[in-house]
Amino acid sequence: MRLHVWGVRGSIPAPGPETNRYGGNTSCVAIQTAAGELIIIDMGTGLLGLGNSLLPGDFGKGKGHATILLSHAHWDHIQGLGFFVPVFIPGNHFTLFGHAKSSSMLEGILEGQMNPNFSPLYTLRNLGATFDVRAVIPGEPFEASGVRITGRPNPHGSTTALAFRVEEGDRSFVYASDVGYEDGGPSPEMLELYRGASVLLHDCTYTPEHQEKRRNRGFSSYVDAADAATRAAVGHLVMFHYDQDYADADVDALRDACRAELDARGGAGIGLTAAAEGLELEI
């Protein structure tokens, strides 16, 4: 599997020279499986760049298909959908897995952002591509794009966000963005989901100081990320979902502090990367 990062920012896109290196687009990553299948996780504005990169291939011809995993429906995780060029090309097909009580409720949530008050698209049905929308059953593995996927909800402020584990052969990737743990860190079920992952991509929105002031928002600090990575004994940690006010130098400092935190917690053997737009990582 190969990870490709398209958007790393939390809450709202943050354009400007001060975010050029890590990028200002909101959450979106892609996994290319060894068999060449595409799995997209979250649909922030990073999805625009991914869409353009897909046009020379099958998606440009209306013959593309991909799995989309949606952690939750806050705007910064769905706002790229209406600007993802492959959805306008008839013949493309997407199977979307997300968190809701039922598949039709999940589809209704996606329709909500397309309604004519907010979007000139009016409804998903006006997109050329077709969507198969499915609610994830927490903790129950399913197969999509030829790999095994498990989703489980993490606490995220007043709501929850799904974390996903994607497994292909002996490699595993975990996506855990938008999580604010209760005291004591990840629950035993979540630690089980993260356990031994080749790569754990984890929410790293804040410094501990900023997180303390904004605890109700439901995001992690680098200490939470380092704690989760060491306790789950993962191979590599990828920091993700930076605060919209953090300039590149702030994220550099966040990474250095996270490295020190990993080392202090007995995780010196865990690799660390601060996600940046354009990052590719072999899993």
Partner: protein, 311 residues
């Protein structure tokens, strides 16, 4: 009064090196009459930084009053609103103005922007006093020392243009709109591009002509005309039903209304700084060759234009 641009982009924010100079934030313009509260036009992602700067003034202590004029509620014109810091400070007053809907109240539309599961902070829990004002086209009212008028535009689900007069200066914000020549854009979804330059039903042609006349009349003699010029002529021909104009359309309105400065605005998300430079230069050359008396500029984040006797 001073006019300052905080977001100049259309459709979707576009961070990246290719937009560093013009800026990647979506639509937001601050109009500030001398010594008066700000009038903010549109609340794209640009309003986030504007809100932060306002917190350095009376808004930081909950003693501020802001007026927000919304052209229409498409995402790129409201998506910054939940990140507008003055909303989170008790004591501030924010008045939001937008066009009256045929189907629902304005407050319901804005409330649905931040309801579960889309955003963690619902409108009802914001600490500032927020008041919604529903406008019909042609409405005119006063905000502090400024006079405001509005007229409707040719855009899906209908957008409003606003004129603000204060301190002996005047400006019009005209975004988003298609030209008034090929298709009438209202509530119906149009799936296939209509023919450009074709013959229109006379009733529709008359409605478009009257809409355009209303806009030209409102723009009469203004110091600054900010105009949606998202499309090149080729892009317009491919998508006349998307509701955006070209610099040529803006020039024609500018000529008829006898304005002083035309400002290209609502830049396409795909446009790099270099491409935008080229569009500006071509438009300036066109106007120079035609002997037009007005100046042409292109909006970028941080641009400030001083109008009237606010020197």
């Amino acid at each position: 009064m001073k006019v300052r641009f905080w977001g100049v982009r259309g459709s979707v924010p576009v961070p990246g090196r290719h937009t560093n100079r013009y800026g990647g934030n979506t639509s937001c313009v601050e109009v500030r009459p001398r010594g008066d509260w700000p009038i903010i036009i549109d609340a794209g992602t640009g309003i986030r930084r504007l809100g932060k700067s306002m917190m350095e003034s009376a808004f930081g202590d909950g003693g501020g009053t802001a007026h927000v004029l919304i052209s229409h509620t498409h995402w790129d014109h409201i998506q910054g609103l939940p990140f507008f810091s003055p909303f989170y400070q008790e004591g501030n007053h924010v008045h939001v103005f937008a066009r009256q809907r045929h189907d629902t109240h304005l407050q319901a539309v804005f409330a649905s922007q931040t309801e579960d599961p889309y955003f963690p902070v619902p409108l009802s829990s914001l600490k500032a006093e927020i008041e919604f004002h529903e406008l019909v086209e042609g409405a005119h009212f006063e905000l502090g020392r400024a006079r405001v008028t509005c007229t409707r535009l040719n855009h899906p689900w209908i957008a409003m243009a606003y004129r603000v007069d204060a301190d002996g200066g005047s400006m019009v914000y005209c975004s988003d709109t298609a030209p008034f020549s090929d298709v009438l854009l209202e509530h119906e979804f149009i799936s296939t591009p209509p023919q450009v330059g074709g013959v229109l039903d006379p009733a529709i042609a008359a409605k478009l002509a009257s809409m355009r006349a209303g806009l030209v009349a409102m723009c009469q003699g203004v110091d600054l005309l900010i105009y949606d010029t998202q499309f090149t002529p080729d892009e317009y021909r491919a998508r006349p039903h998307w509701g955006h104009s070209t610099p040529i359309d803006a020039i024609q309105v500018a000529r008829e209304a006898g304005i002083k400065t035309l400002c290209l605005y609502h830049h396409a998300p795909s446009r790099s700084d270099e491409q935008q430079d080229l569009i500006l230069r071509e438009t300036q050359d066109l106007c120079r060759a035609a002997g037009d008396p007005f100046e042409v500029i292109a909006a970028y984040e941080g641009l400030e234009v001083v109008l009237g006797d606010d020197g």
